[in-house]
């Protein structure tokens, strides 16, 4: 799935339903419409804007105790399942979690944690390319990613995030090399980890 990145207005992708200082979870308005792994999203708590990197996404039943059951035995295709049981769309929900990696106050962008976590029900937007570019001018967020414990592997997240970010650059290669060099310095003692990440971001 490829998102349209060139909209003038930031694209709204969900609403915060759970928040802490280091991350927030948002529910998507449409089922399966969570932003791709590693993309940069933001939420507002004026005067602050919080930036997050999507590190996890999940689709589950709206009731924790009720698990979905298999329905496709007599259907010809997967789409038919949803067509014949339209209520499914309302019984399931998609969520994604984002790691807070920085914030903006006024005109300035800070690559460290904001003073307060996001508010519940604040809207979450996908950052437009210009903003991604602005944010990735500094690679300070990589240090944050390396030092966080997450349910997904950090290597995967870093690689996914750099792959997403490089899309907005004309010279993707130069961006990736610069990021790679930053990683090489940060991971100076862990060559194997560096190698794993570099292997995932090369084009």
């Amino acid at each position: 799935m490829r998102l349209i990145l060139n909209t003038a207005e930031p694209q709204r992708v969900g609403e915060v339903i759970d928040a802490s200082t280091t991350d927030f979870t948002a529910q998507c308005y449409e089922l399966y419409q969570s932003p791709p792994l590693g993309s940069l999203v933001k939420t507002r708590d004026l005067p602050l804007e919080l930036y997050g990197l999507v590190y996890n996404a999940a689709t589950t039943s709206i009731e924790p105790g009720r698990r979905p059951i298999a329905r496709g035995k007599d259907e010809a295709s997967e789409e038919e399942i949803y067509r014949s049981s339209p209520q499914l769309m309302k019984l399931l929900r998609s969520e994604f979690s984002a790691l807070v990696v920085g914030h903006r106050q006024g005109d300035r962008l800070y690559h460290y944690l904001p003073p307060k976590p996001a508010r519940i029900h604040s809207f979450v937007y996908l950052c437009p390319p210009e903003e991604v570019k602005e944010f990735s001018q500094s690679f300070d967020f990589l240090n944050m990613l390396i030092n966080t414990r997450l349910p997904v592997s950090t290597d995967e997240l870093i690689a996914a995030c750099l792959r997403q970010m490089c899309q907005v650059y004309e010279d993707r290669h130069a961006f990736l090399v610069a990021a790679g060099k930053e990683l090489a310095i940060l991971l100076s003692g862990q060559f194997n980890q560096l190698k794993a990440i570099l292997g995932r971001i090369r084009e």
Partner: protein
């Protein structure tokens, strides 16, 4: 604009500083001997690269090297996980201190602070250090990978003895020609060249066999060619000014002492020379070789306390000398007098040896002439000092195969040893050309002011050339990595810091033009001279 290479990360004044290369600077483009400037907080340090090495941030990289066939990987790792380091030796400081601003670059007394930026030296920096060509400075070559001129201060150079060293075929002769031309143009000194291989006076040949002009062809009015072998000179089409003949009576015992090894004389035989000289006086050589195997001779030898076998040994040696064709019972004109006449007129003298290239002739003649010229100069200088008149013109004597004159055994006895040690006071210095500097006496080596050395690869030779120089080990690595052609390391009195140069082109028509001053300059010089004469 200067090109940034990296930053200083550690170091000491003694051992030089370590510079970590930026990822944008390629380790392969660095070269030992190249100049860099370090931007300290208060002053700039003019320095030379003395070593280039590779570093890794994580030792695992050396154990399990990454896949470098992947260009992305290679590009990322270059300059971060893997990096180049330079070992840089600060030599001079530019700017900053008052003394440095007024008197130009000063020797370093400290190191730049941590993380000072390191740039490739700009043309301007090099010019600031080595000066530009002027009335005293002679353009000898360019630094590696640069177009700037490195200039030697010849006025300073001729004040001390100097040496040109290098293996055979590394360009000693070309360098010497350049130096001679330089001295001829830019200093007040005159040269006396003992030209063993007939290369400096008239034309010589380069390694490709092409003819190369020499001094007399370039400066006909200021160079005289003397020859020992008239016939050979005529064959080669050389216009000679004087044919040198040497009389038996001009050879003195000291000359024989020097030839001891070459003539294979024993110790007592050398002793006997002095006794014979005492007995027969000036004509001793002729008298001694003319002695017949008779009762009278035996009596004489007994009288002089010379053993028969010693005398035979000596006689064989002396016969070798007598056989030299340029030696005659009585020389028609005094060669020394003639040489001095020319030198006094400011004309440089090149003495060609023609076919007599064997070392016996060379040592004998060079030593003999030099000794007598030395005496003259000594007398004149002392007289000049006493009477307050102008001392004689500074004289530079050029000798090849110098280790034959200046080795440990004979250096204390030959005139060249004396000149090297103390003749500076009497306005005579040496230009020593040699391929085995280790053969030269350490005491003489230590008196050599400026050393110009081409490639040397024998450890002992390198050690002897670099003896007493600070940062010896760094220069050693530079010296042993010189290219075998047209490159030389210059250090000592006449240059502010050791410098590796690509020697100036010599041998093409273009290059000759550079040596001969343009008419305009000549006229100006003449005018200045006239003014000086007019107003005193």
């Amino acid at each position: 604009m200067s090109e940034r290479l990296g930053i200083v990360v550690s170091g000491s004044l003694n051992k030089g500083v370590e510079v970590r290369l930026d990822s944008s600077a390629s380790v392969e483009e660095m070269a030992v001997g190249r100049y860099v400037t370090i931007e300290g907080e208060k002053q700039r340090f003019f320095s030379m690269i003395t070593d280039v090495s590779l570093g890794v941030i994580d030792q695992k990289l050396t154990v399990t090297p990454p896949d470098i066939s992947d260009p992305f990987m290679a590009e990322v790792l270059a300059g971060t996980s893997t990096y180049g380091t330079l070992h840089v030796l600060p030599m001079l400081t530019i700017g900053g201190e008052v003394a440095s601003l007024i008197e130009g670059p000063q020797p370093v007394k400290t190191v730049p602070s941590h993380f000072s930026a390191v740039n490739l030296a700009s043309q301007r920096d090099v010019e600031l250090v080595f000066g530009s060509e002027d009335e005293r400075k002679f353009y000898i070559g360019t630094p590696l990978d640069m177009e700037t001129k490195v200039c030697l201060n010849l006025e300073e150079l001729v004040k001390r003895s100097n040496g040109v060293f290098g293996k055979s075929g590394t360009g000693k002769t070309f360098l010497t020609r350049l130096l001679l031309i330089g001295m001829l143009q830019k200093s007040k000194a005159v040269n006396l060249v003992f030209d063993m291989h007939n290369e400096y006076g008239w034309e010589g040949r380069n390694e490709r066999g092409q003819k190369v002009k020499a001094l007399k062809q370039l400066f006909p009015s200021r160079v005289a060619v003397f020859t020992l072998d008239e016939e050979n000179s005529r064959h080669r089409g050389v216009s000679t000014d004087f044919v040198v003949k040497i009389g038996f009576d001009e050879i003195e015992p000291e000359d024989i002492v020097l030839l001891r090894q070459t003539l294979n004389l024993t110790g007592p035989a050398v002793e006997a020379v002095y006794q014979l000289h005492r007995r027969f006086g000036k004509n001793w050589l002729q008298e001694a070789t003319d002695l017949k195997d008779s009762e009278e001779t035996r009596e004489l030898l007994k009288d002089l306390d010379i053993h028969e076998s010693t005398f035979q040994n000596l006689k064989r040696g002396l016969a070798t000398i007598r056989r030299l064709p340029f030696i005659e019972p009585h020389a028609p004109t005094d060669a020394v007098k003639r040489i001095l006449e020319y030198l006094d007129r400011g004309i440089n003298v090149v003495l060609e040896f023609g076919r007599y290239r064997d070392i016996i002739a060379y040592i004998l003649v060079a030593n003999m002439l030099a000794r007598r010229i030395y005496t003259q100069y000594q007398d004149r200088t002392e007289k000049a000092l006493g009477e307050g008149i102008a001392p004689p013109r500074p004289l530079v004597i050029t000798i090849e195969e110098a280790h034959k004159f200046l080795n440990q055994e004979v250096a204390s006895q030959t005139i060249f040893g004396t000149i090297a040690r103390e003749m500076r006071k009497y306005n005579v210095t040496l230009l020593v050309i040699d391929q085995r500097p280790s053969g030269i006496d350490a005491e003489v080596m230590s008196q050599i002011g400026t050393k110009i050395t081409c490639l040397l690869d024998n450890d002992r030779d390198i050690d002897s050339v670099l003896a007493g120089v600070s940062a010896k080990s760094e220069l050693k690595s530079v010296l042993s990595r010189l290219e075998s052609k047209q490159q030389a390391l210059i250090f000592g009195h006449a240059v502010p810091m050791p410098v590796v140069v690509r020697t100036r082109e010599y041998g093409s028509a273009e290059s000759y033009k550079g040596f001969i001053p343009s008419e305009e300059a000549e006229t100006r010089k003449q005018a200045e001279k006239d003014i000086e004469e007019l107003w005193g």
